[in-house]
Every structure is written in C-alpha cells, then in structure tokens.
C-alpha cells in the first residue's frame, strides 16, 4: 500500500493537496451491493471490477462495507454463501466530498484502510476514494500545472525561437502615455527587419490593444513575441470583462462615453480592427475577472500562410 507523508512533500504538492477536494479525485462510478446480497456475489464483483472493497447501500445511504479481508475470512470460515448483512463492517470511517485532499491523505496515514467511502452533505454515498485515486488525481493535476508552466515559458515553441519579446504594463485612463507601447513595438520590429505591410498590421493590432487597455480596462499588460515566422500580440487585463463578446466584435458598437469619444476613441472599431489584421484572433473574457485578446500575425515572405 502506498504511504503518503505530507511532511516530506514538496510545497507544490502540498499546495495541490490543499486546493483539491476529495470529490476531484474520487471514483464516482460505484460498485455497490445490498444487505441481502451474498458474500460470494460480492467476491465476484471484486474479481470482475478488480476492486478491494464494496460499499453496502440502502438506496443512497451507506450502511456497511465489505473489504477483501472480509471475503478471505468468509472463504476461510466457510460462510461465503451467506448474506453480507451479518458480516459487513458497520463502524465506518468516511470522508466528505468537499474536504480538502490533504485531510483524505491524513486519514490514509491514520487508519491504514485501502479506501474510504465518500458522502455528500446530505449523507448520501457519492464516491469512493482509494490511495491509488489520490495518486492519480495528484499526477493529473501536476501534469496540468506543468503544461501551464511550459506554455508560459514558450508560448509558441512549434514555430521557432523567439527573436524578441517584450511586455508593457498599461494603466486605466493613462492617456499621457497612450501609444508609447505600440510605438516602441513598431520601432523595434522595424529594426528587426519586418516588412512594411506586416509591420503595419502589427502596429494596428498593438495600438488598438493598447488603447482598449487604457480606455476600457482596469489595467493590464500588452505583450509582443516576435518569432521568425510570426508575431504574437497578447493583451491581458484584470477586468471588468466583456458582457457580450458578439456585440463587442461588431463594427460600430461601443460602450465608450462622450469623454472617450471626444478623445477620438470609442467608435466601436477597436476589436474589429484587431480581428481584421490578424491571421489568428482569439478573445476570452469573464465579467468580473478580465479579458485576454491574442492576435497572431504571420510573416508571409518567410513561408507563413497569407
């Protein structure tokens, strides 16, 4: 049996065990039996499903548990054909589905059972968790974390190495510096030898992204990643999020007020303009959370698609 010790785990794993709930790792496809079922029947269930414990239920209520040890004793004692009711464990240690995983792990350390039934708030049986489930759950989650980390480190690894990358912080209503980020991007990519037509598209997209961040967002970042075959622009903000993405992508639609219009912005062309000049355009937004806009502009003369 696998042994866990939270004390010796690295902090990333520790963090995961606190973030994940029992319900995130438990098995929900339950193999159960009823009180009247014979121990022989349960032995078959274990064999076919390759499990070591079967919860005994009445409807959704957990009334007992038969473990592989109980079966061995039954075979030994010659009562394998009996109904399980008289032989099942009734004093059960259970877990609740919204407990943190760390608590589940400490239960395994404490009680040395192979599995624990999991109940919800209404005391209904909703799952079963073994140490194997916990390991699998942790591994899956760690994989996800690693993938995210890799994505952060090299967002477009398949199209070659980054020649130039830069991130700008932008602040709400900072008209004082509006345009300097995209101005810098344009100048520096021109120095890198980007052709004028592609440079213009990058400039339009980055400028609109920059103005969007200043006019509409609560602040955020504009990131440019220049690679041999494409340039990627990413605008990420911390809110307020877009309520209706479809409308926001409609030419002429805008939430800008008269003051913003008086500054020459807010005519409802920002996102449509970015989309127009992009080869790949991606937007995701959540109200209260923020918005991410990504524009990929390929460099045609270097073998990218037009």
């Amino acid at each position: 049996m696998t042994n866990f010790s939270l004390d010796s785990s690295p902090s990333v794993v520790l963090e995961l065990t606190l973030r994940l709930k029992i319900r995130d790792v438990m098995t929900t496809q339950l193999i159960t039996a009823e009180k009247k079922d014979s121990l022989r029947h349960i032995q078959q269930l274990m064999k076919v499903n390759r499990i070591t414990g079967v919860p005994i239920v009445e409807g959704k209520r957990l009334v007992g548990l038969i473990s592989v040890d109980d079966i061995i004793q039954a075979l030994d004692g010659g009562f394998i054909e009996e109904a399980c009711e008289g032989r099942m464990s009734r004093q059960l240690i259970v877990l609740e589905d919204d407990m943190p995983l760390s608590l589940g792990i400490s239960y395994f350390e404490k009680y040395h059972f192979g599995r624990f039934p999991v109940l919800n708030k209404d005391s209904e049986l909703v799952g079963i968790v073994s140490s194997r489930d916990i390991l699998t759950g942790l591994l899956v989650e760690m994989n996800k974390e690693m993938e995210q980390l890799e994505e952060k480190l090299s967002p477009q690894k398949e199209v070659g190495t980054t020649i130039y990358s830069r991130e700008f912080s932008l602040h709400k209503f900072d008209f004082e510096h509006a345009g300097t980020a995209s101005g810098t991007i344009k100048m520096e990519l021109k120095e890198k030898g980007l052709d004028p037509k592609t440079l213009r598209r990058v400039a339009v997209a980055s400028y609109e992204m920059e103005m969007n961040l200043i006019v509409h967002s609560l602040g955020g970042t504009l990131k440019v990643t220049h690679m041999p075959r494409q340039t990627v622009l990413e605008a990420r903000d911390v809110g307020p999020g877009i309520e209706d993405l479809e409308k926001a992508l409609t030419e002429g639609w805008s939430t800008a007020n008269d003051w913003i219009r008086s500054l020459g912005f807010g005519a409802g062309m920002g996102l449509p303009n970015i989309k127009r000049v992009s080869d790949d355009f991606h937007i995701e937004s959540e109200v209260g959370k923020g918005t991410l806009v990504r524009s990929v502009i390929r460099h045609p003369e270097l073998g990218g698609e037009v």
């Binding site: 345009g179 995209s182 500054l263 020459g264």
Partner: protein
C-alpha cells in the same frame, strides 16, 4: 498633388515635418476617430482632423500617412508636435473647418 500645394491653397501653418513638395497626396481621410483611420489602407494619404492629441500623429505613423492637417484653427498639443518632428511626419494647421478643408482639397485633387 503635394502638401506644398495644399499648404499654399489653404494657407496652412507648418508646425513640423520635412519636405512638403516631396509628400505626394492622392487620398484624404477626414476623420476624428482614430480606429476608423486605421482601417484605411491607402498610400499617399493625408489625415485631416480636428483632434489635437499625439494619438493623431501615432495613428498617422501607423497607417504611413504623408501628413496631418489639423483643422478648426486648433493648436495641436506640444507632445503631438514633438512626436511629429521625431517621426518626421509633416504637421500642418489651418483655421478652416474640416468641411471647408475637404472642399478645397477635393478641388485640388480633381484639378
């Protein structure tokens, strides 16, 4: 038509920029909304606007405009003038309204 002709015809004040004669103009965008300017994909462009911020110059730079004409007798902000000098974009101003400027430039274009 070049910027020199426009400057003479409209009596413009030149605030920044290099050779007006060398700046060939074939298309005009008279617009105060910068995103609408960014849609324009024409060479030899003149941007006519009564907006006075440096965003006007930025936008002109992005679309590769050959000049910017500020109308309604407005004085562009100092930062706009500085940026125009830095990016070498001719910046002119006229007391005419955008409408009047369009009518006169249109006549020059159609000559």
């Amino acid at each position: 038509m070049n910027l020199q002709q426009i400057q003479t015809q409209l009596g413009c004040e030149v605030l920044a920029g290099g050779s007006l004669q060398g700046a060939n103009i074939e298309h005009v965008c008279a617009c105060d909304m910068m995103s609408d300017v960014l849609v324009v994909e024409k060479d030899n462009l003149l941007l006519v606007t009564s907006l006075t911020t440096e965003q006007v110059v930025r936008t002109a730079d992005i679309v590769g405009a050959h000049g910017v004409l500020i109308t309604n007798g407005k004085q562009p902000l100092e930062k706009a003038v500085q940026l125009a000098k830095q990016l070498n974009i001719p910046l002119l101003r006229t007391r005419l309204s955008t409408f009047e400027a369009c009518v006169q430039i249109g006549k020059l274009l159609n000559l």
